[in-house]
Symmetry: C2
Subunit: 328 residues, 2 copies
């Protein structure tokens, strides 16, 4: 009996989940839910229902885990608590500052329903959070550093596109190599925003647009670019499509700390990711944790969980005996 | 009320635990147990009892978690199941092939006693195992690689010292940089033992010893050196003491894998450690998991656990609310 998965929202992340399910033989995709007209949504898996989001309740007994693939700004704060009343749900809510509030809302709904939910699953929040937690518990006297990139920031790319005279654009966040090296040395440097990352923009401008003005507007944009060293390249639409249509990302979580009676020994713990596709990797993490949510609920648990609450063995389709014999 | 810790065995690892406890304000060291005459064992913490191993039972109600610091070859297979009858125990059993047998013995004792035990805690087995598990669940179609070093191998150093004419020696295991790069490329190379690591030996020989014969014996030693490219340096006792008295170690766990409907995207997950002191870092990992064992037992659990079974939040002295607000 396979774990029956539903996908709620069919954008990049939803398509990533669809693809990840094929790599996990103990799972099957049952239905995709969309707010669009279902007849207009073509998915990649034959024989799977595409239904309207409004009809989701009728799938209550047909789906073991519902994976929410909407955005954190407006979709998930509403959708996750509502769907948690009828389904075991997993989302990738990533607005760090609002996690406690989102957790409380989802936890209440799940507990009332006697179901398990998981929020903020992915790589940051998610695997990066886990690595921050493990490393800080192992080295209580030390310092954490998180770097992102090289990768595409959707929010920053959107910000560029809103500038007058810009037709299209892509923004890469790039960790500064010398800052990474300083951190790895164990010297626990204090790094400013500018010292940690640079930003590189590839911009397609309207014909005749004032390029100098566009470049200035990007570089001086508060919150997004003003605190960074930013490079702007104007390129053609063809070049953007050819060289910048991927959605790569990645990053580094590094903790350095001291041990010893006189704090004489330094240790470096580093976790890093290099991802060809941000949404497909995020989807792969979510899919593994969907299995854990399913198993936790079968074990009698209920309420909202995060990656911090999941015994790692629950992520695997293998038995505890197999894991101890082969992976420990 | 602090978590009261006992240390069973006072070698490098035991001293590491003693030091780590000072970095965890919610813990206190209660007693150190030794098979030597306790009067001859000087520890670094004032006011803490040093007792004979034979008297350990009388501390049953004074210790919350007993950390076993003996060796995996002959100490732990006997000590852990015996102590698990009276104490919540944590060990660092690292003979990978015998983990299932050791687990069964310790699990039986702990379940009969209604207590929690943890085996094979450290960095390999331990944190490396965890990273192998997480990464293989996230990327089911991929390949795992573990590299060790640069670091001192105690077993290989001992093997050198047993050769006739050798007074002292130290062996370093070194990962091959080009092999690491090949793995990180995502090409999933098949690597032989020789291609993954080299071995470097620093040897102090007796005066007049046949150095060519010693070098040959090292390089051709089956299991230990014959399958590796090995370099042998003859140095003075002073040089060995000055430059090679540390116990550094570390290593890399890398998994690469594909996602996408056509497996068109490659991802690289890397975890690496660079440790000035192998025993102090191992002790730091064990100390964090000792907290988890204590909390699990308070939560009503019993039986033997490994790092795979521990919800990460249990490692921390912070509350789940604090962790979600600050680390997620």
């Amino acid at each position: 009996m396979k774990i029956r998965i539903g996908i709620f929202g069919y954008g990049n992340l939803g398509r990533g989940i669809e693809s990840a399910i094929r790599q996990n033989p103990d799972m099957e995709l049952v239905a995709v839910f969309t707010r669009r007209n279902p007849d207009t949504v073509k998915i990649s898996t034959e024989g799977v229902t595409v239904a309207h989001a409004d009809d989701v309740k009728s799938f209550k007994d047909k789906i073991d885990v519902m994976i929410l693939c909407g955005g954190s700004a407006t979709d998930l704060p509403v959708q996750t608590p509502v769907l948690a009343k009828d389904f075991t749900v997993v989302d990738s809510f990533d607005t760090h500052a609002k996690i406690p509030e989102h957790f409380a809302n989802v936890d209440k709904a799940s507990k009332e329903a006697g179901k398990v939910s998981m929020i903020s699953v992915g790589w940051d929040p998610g695997m990066f959070s886990l690595n921050r937690l493990y490393a800080s518990c192992i080295l209580p006297e030390g310092q954490d550093y998180t770097f992102w990139g090289k990768g595409v920031s959707q929010g920053h790319s959107d910000a560029i596109r809103r500038i007058e005279g810009v037709l299209d654009g892509k923004q890469y966040t790039i960790p500064v190599e010398s800052a990474l090296e300083a951190v790895r040395s164990g010297s626990e440097p204090n790094l400013t925003t500018r010292e940690k990352h640079t930003r590189e923009c590839f911009v397609v401008a309207e014909e005749g647009a004032d390029l100098a003005r566009i470049e200035k507007e990007i570089k001086e944009m508060p919150n997004y670019f003003a605190d960074y060293d930013t490079t702007v390249h104007f390129i053609s639409h063809d070049e953007l499509k050819k060289n910048h249509s991927g959605i790569p990302h990645g990053g580094f979580v590094i903790r350095t700390g001291k041990t010893g009676l006189n704090k004489e020994n330094t240790h470096v713990i580093e976790y890093n990711l290099k991802l060809d596709s941000n949404p497909e990797f995020t989807a792969s993490v979510i899919t593994a944790f969907a299995r854990a949510a399913y198993k936790l609920e079968k074990a009698g648990e209920s309420g909202c969980k995060t990656v911090f609450d999941i015994p790692p063995a629950y992520l695997s389709a293998q038995s505890p005996e197999e894991l101890r014999a082969h992976l420990l």
